[in-house]
Symmetry: C2
Subunit: 244 residues, 2 copies
């Protein structure tokens, strides 16, 4: 197995209402890159959100008293804080100006995935797509490719730096459960569940500079079992989570 | 930028005392793969540990009372539990049979990185290399390649599944700090530190089936600034860690 990972360089700036599949197909054609049945497309969450209009004009937001209070303590924009709260179903940690929250999807992320970088104008913020699996599925069907992963960059406890992770998946299982199979020595593997879609998102992230401009990456040469998976399977169930 | 990621398939079974660099060079030659100045070699921790003799015969371990007590509660091997404790400088979480611990290097991992899979015989366990950065550096110099990453598979809070991470690095910075640079819209990026070495380890992990047998991966086509980095920079400093 040999992987090739390449980014699309000629995607135009995405605007609300844009149909991503033909834009991506055109960019690939222009660049002489093939998107086939064995291609995994990894797309940055931000352009999916932009295309779906998952952008919020902060001027329309009336911050709650709680948001104003937190914003005052940490010199934040109270409207952005309010937006983070609205995108959250649970606050995991709120300390030193940082809000780590569980989104309505179940993902745990800084600011519940609300992002103000690479957004035109100071008054807009991008939020996560409402149903990233569905976004991925639409794109996969529109492009007729093997799998689609919608990625974002998340921080982690204990380790420095962001890494690419999957928040939407179509065409593959997001996690691969190897329990029941055996290791090289014939001993059963005990707790080996692999977050395949996160590793693919991390690999694609290597070609997505955070300064923006290269939000779509093609991975070829990877072998996987075709399945209609979901990124929700990457969310650890509360009863199994030691760090809830 | 276009990445090619390939695994070495003909590395022999590694034994204590083996000199890895020539074994890897020979395997690459056999397979017609080039290891050059722009190649990043990602090597699974386990074979580095094996080569360095970082294997422990459990029969030599006298478990402490505490280890025996925990092992009895959760049907574990008390000698393996004792080994985990010895590899730890701090227990982060100890619940439902799982020990998440901070190793002497500062990495936070299940069982402090102690592993019994893919080890010959039931009585041996592999521990992390004493100084994985140094192991990486020796390999980089021995192979004269661009960078070396020693990888392991770690779980994460909140998310299901293991992902490849870097525990040793040579020839590159493990994290890239983009603070001070600007996004596509000219707005300064605020908190964008990227865990580059972890993303490379995750990418390589895609070609390392957990069942073993493919512990070395070559990444070509990645562009990076040559630096003598350290995987320790991936360890979040206690005073910055909200989840300590």
């Amino acid at each position: 197995m040999k992987l090739q990972i390449a980014s699309l360089k000629t995607l135009p700036e995405i605007r609300p209402g844009d149909d991503l599949a033909p834009l991506i197909r055109d960019a690939a054609l222009r660049e002489g890159k093939e998107i086939g049945a064995s291609t995994i497309l990894v797309l940055a969450q931000k352009i999916v959100s932009k295309a779906e209009g998952a952008m919020v004009d902060l001027r329309t937001i009336q911050p709650s008293e709680f948001a104003v209070c937190w914003a005052r303590q940490w010199q934040k924009d109270p409207r952005a804080v309010e937006l983070v709260l609205r995108q959250s179903r649970r606050i995991v940690k709120m300390d030193r100006g940082t809000i780590v929250a569980e989104t309505h999807h179940g993902f745990v992320a800084a600011n519940a995935g609300v992002d103000q970088s690479n957004v035109p104008g100071d008054e807009f913020a991008v939020v996560l797509p409402t149903d990233p699996d569905l976004s991925a599925r639409r794109l996969r069907l529109g492009l007729n490719c093997g799998a689609v992963i919608i990625s974002d960059s998340f921080g982690r406890p204990w380790r420095e730096g962001l890494v690419g992770v999957a928040i939407g998946v179509s065409g593959m299982d997001a996690v691969v459960d190897l329990r029941g199979s055996c290791d090289h020595e014939g001993r059963p593997l005990s707790a080996t569940i692999v977050a395949r879609a996160d590793e693919l998102a991390a690999a694609a992230s290597l070609l997505m500079p955070k300064a923006g401009g290269v939000p779509a990456v093609l991975i070829d040469g990877f072998e996987w079992e075709r399945n209609e998976g979901t990124a929700r399977s990457l969310v650890r169930r509360p009863e199994l989570d030691l760090f809830r």
